[in-house]
Symmetry: C2
Subunit: 210 residues, 2 copies
């Protein structure tokens, strides 16, 4: 089993929102879900540590392909640790299937758990920090009143910024529906409630009302 | 009285955390405080719109001196609007005295209100967004457990990051004590409670506990 200290070295190139702190949070959450759901904890742990680790492979590809690069890198690491082919394939499936818009869907319980743990990290107080951090880096506002067109279709009108609040409405509010395990859905419900209330308060404060 | 649309043009060079949205929030809050405290609303409004507006003066100085540049710029704008010298001086005092670490302290009720409104913008959900936004831009973590030395003295040990949580403990938790008006202190109390709870939850989630 790779250690956390070994894993840290695989994430040198990461951006501030997909950094090693994200990996550690997913690792701890995946462990918790695996115990609650009765999954193979070691497969889940290895998959969590390796799920975004394309950075260590030379000439790594764009983020769109990163789950393939990470799956290949995982095979190298786990082969050198002496894992058998079946368990390596199980970890690789978790990694390839964890993307929100990926073509390979999670089939095993372990893959469902990695998917859910990764998505929980966009909700709650962490979700607040991530969506605000992204918007700040992109130079888009934290809040701008969404147009009627955006509310109905998810497409901004000419000149309308995709603020952090837009991302909340367009993506974050829908993440829970995509989750697989009962344990993750219960956590997601609480975290989504928190995120909703954050934006309610942000908008009130924005207008000098709270 | 300068309009909000006029004022927007004075803030082209601003950074994402001191942008025109900040000015508008301070404007609305200052207006609310002025009404509650029985202050001269027009002086407060003009001071709020102009308080960070050094950007429009050519060759503007560093942020440390920005309240002087802004006060001079305010005099130009208000003279051209036909304001009398006494009211211009009152606005200038508000602007020069609004800095947390400034040497000129707020004497008038209007200056106390601008100070308080500006400081309220670092608390609550807005405060969350600002402290997270700053940390993200600076490349420092959102959370790192503070050392015992930091908790006792406010100074980090070698290699310790000044995370968003450090800034919360070191600065944001103390802002309320510095405020002048009863109205602002009541709002600050609520907003500080929210900020405290945000970090409590962030730390729990960070450790996979919520």
């Amino acid at each position: 089993m790779p250690t956390i200290e070994q894993a840290r070295a695989w994430y040198v190139d990461s951006d501030p929102v997909h950094d090693f702190d994200h990996v550690l949070r997913v690792y701890r959450m995946a462990e918790r879900l695996a115990e609650a759901e009765g999954a193979d904890v070691d497969i889940v742990r290895a998959a969590a540590l390796l799920h975004d680790a394309e950075g260590a492979t030379p000439g790594h590809e764009s983020r769109a392909d990163h789950h393939h690069a990470s799956a290949e890198f995982a095979a190298q690491v786990l082969t050198s640790e002496g894992w058998d082919a079946g368990r390596i394939a199980a970890v690789q499936h978790c990694i390839r299937a964890h993307r929100y818009r990926g073509t390979e869907k999670p089939e095993s319980l372990e893959a469902k758990i990695l998917f859910d743990a990764d998505k929980l990290d966009v909700l709650g107080a962490i979700g607040v920090a991530r969506v605000i951090g992204y918007a700040t880096l992109a130079g888009t506002p934290w809040y701008e009143p969404p147009s009627r067109q955006f509310l109905e279709t998810g497409k901004e009108v000419e000149g309308e910024a995709h603020s952090a609040y837009h991302e909340h409405l367009f993506k974050l509010r829908k993440v829970r529906e995509r989750m697989f395990t009962v344990t993750a859905r219960a956590i997601a419900e609480e975290r989504l409630k928190y995120l909703d209330e954050f934006f309610e308060r942000l908008i009130d404060e924005w207008n000098g009302k709270r």
